[in-house]
């Protein structure tokens, strides 16, 4: 799907800017400068507004993501069930630091509550949700992605 086709699905009204940006992001994995400019022209807003809006939200990325993205919930409910120990375990296994944006292959992100508090700790690997993760079963999950 091209960006133009995606934009044409929406009326050029301000309430459609965020949904359109999300759809472009879902399609390409991120919104690059060219696509942001197309959206800016379509909705008649400055490029600076498109970028400042896109970069505000967690679910929209403004640069290409690494091939392996692991997100771990650190909400209090998951924290009391050892979410931080899961984070430490992943850091040790993959030799990455949580929050490091400069590794081109792997990103370990700490994210906010997903509303799955009953089945925490929760991690998302490349968009797939895993629940009741422990420091012991983390390597089983990661094995499929390495």
């Amino acid at each position: 799907m091209t960006t133009e086709k995606i934009l044409l699905e929406f009326d050029a009204q301000s309430k459609n800017l965020l949904p359109a940006l999300r759809k472009i992001d879902a399609n390409f994995g991120y919104i690059g400068e060219d696509d942001a400019q197309k959206a800016a022209d379509y909705f008649s807003v400055p490029l600076s507004q498109v970028f400042e809006t896109a970069s505000f939200y967690d679910l929209i990325k403004t640069k290409k993501q690494p091939s392996l993205v692991i997100q771990v919930c650190s909400g209090a409910n998951c924290a009391v069930k050892s979410a931080y120990k899961v984070i430490r375990e992943i850091e040790n296994q993959l030799h990455v630091k949580a929050g490091d944006e400069f590794n081109p292959k792997v990103k370990l992100e700490i994210i906010s509550c997903l509303g799955q508090c009953g089945s925490g700790p929760v991690i998302i690997v490349n968009g797939n949700v895993f629940t009741q993760v422990t420091p012991n079963n983390v390597d089983d999950i990661l094995r499929n992605y390495l």
Partner: protein, 468 residues
């Protein structure tokens, strides 16, 4: 309506902001993020106390019977802590900063007597691991943009006041990312490539956005005995040089100081303005076309190039006054005085920052009022003892009215009067956009169009200093 400020009664109108009522009555309230037109209440420095609660005076309207205190223990504590939080990113950086001594954050910190290292560990207190983390954290979010000839940016010194975002007429900047990762910058951190009007540089309270300059090179030229340094003084700068150096309160004093810092000759830019007006008048008289646009605003020329290239041919083919005067100096003046033009360095002291962009053969440097202030400080001139002086008589100005081109509409008025023609004036980008829109739809038919990017004209240019 009646309200109480610091236990005294004051009159106020419906819809007035607390800050404005206080200002009217000469009650001082410090601010950081507000500009004359936009008050978002971001910095929380302008807080006042109302019924035990702290509210921001810049964006809260008065109400009947309101009781406000503008100074209290709570208010002082709020200002102190919030300034100390801002200072955590600035601690230890003043000495090498271009805005040292001209920084609003420094002034506020001094007024409120804050402790600069409150929220950041001093070097001796940090462990090795911490120091690295802190450095990485800081560095990872710093964006530096030195990619153009007029404006220099570094987000390391930014206090996220949003003044640049709010005063930029072409919306170059955005408030990017979220929370502590917020960066005031361009989309995708593209190098700035705008019309360089400089309103952002003028309004920035800290050293985050500054004039792009090569002051050490310029001072080198001033000190070089083999070079003849010539200063062109834009009449507009006389209005604001006092904000840089309060002792420079007259034209004669300024010229004397310029000579003291190393200029051999100081000329009135009005001479160049006369040349520009003459040439523009000629071209308009001899042209059969209508809707001709005056060319002395360099920012406007960039604006047309970037956004309305279809009107490029409407712009007169006349250089701006600084370039014309520099050309005159390196040709006619140099040959008359029998000086080798290669030995002359022409430096224009201007209220305009966009003039830095043009690469001119004859005009060597353009510096803003701020930069002049810094050179004067660096050269440690004793301003009380400096002698008065006058402009070089070789280039005497004939028409005293030529300096009116520093105000919007001034040039068009002078030219139109001479050749009895109709004219339109557009002040600021929104008016300009409207005029160009009407022009595109053939709704305008006039002889002369004057468009000034900086609202108010060159006297309000991006190169002017501001009262801090």
């Amino acid at each position: 309506m009646k309200i109480k400020i610091n236990n005294k009664n004051y009159k106020a109108e419906e819809g007035e902001l607390i800050y404005d009522v206080c200002k009217r009555n000469k009650i001082k309230i410090p601010t950081l993020c507000s500009t004359p037109k936009i008050h978002e209440g971001l910095c929380r420095i302008c807080v006042v106390e109302n019924g035990g609660r702290l509210i921001t005076s810049c964006n809260t309207k008065v109400s009947e019977g309101m009781e406000i205190m503008t100074e209290s223990e709570k208010i002082s504590k709020a200002r102190r802590i919030n300034l100390e939080l801002l200072w955590a990113d600035h601690a230890g950086k003043c000495v090498t900063c271009k805005k040292n001594r001209r920084c609003e954050l420094q002034n506020l910190a001094e007024d409120q007597k804050i402790e600069n290292f409150h929220f950041i560990p001093r070097k001796e207190e940090m462990t090795g691991k911490e120091e690295l983390d802190l450095l990485k954290d800081n560095r990872s979010r710093v964006v530096v943009d030195e990619g153009n000839l007029a404006i220099s940016r570094t987000t390391e010194l930014c206090v996220e006041c949003r003044r640049c975002i709010n005063t930029c007429p072409t919306k170059e900047f955005g408030f990017n990312n979220r929370a502590g990762d917020v960066v005031v910058g361009t989309p995708y951190e593209k190098p700035l490539d705008c019309i360089f009007c400089g309103q952002c540089v003028k309004n920035c309270p800290t050293g985050a956005i500054t004039d792009q300059n090569n002051l050490s090179k310029i001072i080198g030229q001033l000190d070089d005995l083999k070079k003849m340094a010539v200063a062109l003084v834009d009449p507009a700068i006389l209005e604001t040089i006092i904000f840089e150096q309060p002792e420079i309160d007259s034209k004669e004093k300024l010229i004397g100081v310029l000579e003291a810092i190393g200029f051999e000759k100081v000329f009135d830019l009005e001479f160049g303005m006369e040349l520009a007006l003459q040439k523009m008048t000629e071209q308009i008289k001899n042209s059969g076309k209508n809707n001709l646009m005056l060319s002395h605003c360099p920012s406007f020329n960039l604006f047309i190039e970037k956004y309305y290239p279809q009107f490029k041919s409407n712009i007169l083919d006349v250089d701006n006054p600084d370039e014309l005067l520099a050309e005159f100096i390196k040709n006619q003046y140099a040959s008359e005085q029998k000086i080798n033009p290669a030995d002359i360095v022409v430096i224009s002291v201007s209220s305009c920052i966009a003039k830095k962009i043009n690469k001119s053969q004859n005009l060597d440097y353009v510096i803003t009022v701020r930069e002049l202030g810094r050179i004067i400080w660096q050269k440690n001139i004793n301003l009380k003892k400096s002698k008065n002086s006058d402009f070089g008589k070789e280039l005497a100005v004939k028409d005293e009215k030529a300096k009116n081109i520093t105000r919007t509409g001034g040039a068009a008025e002078i030219i139109a009067k001479k050749i009895r023609a109709k004219y339109i004036v557009a002040d600021g980008v929104s008016q300009i956009k409207k005029v160009l829109g009407d022009l595109s739809k053939n709704r305008i038919e006039t002889k002369i169009i004057e468009c000034m990017i900086c609202p108010g004209g060159c006297v309000k240019g991006g190169g002017q200093a501001r009262k801090l």
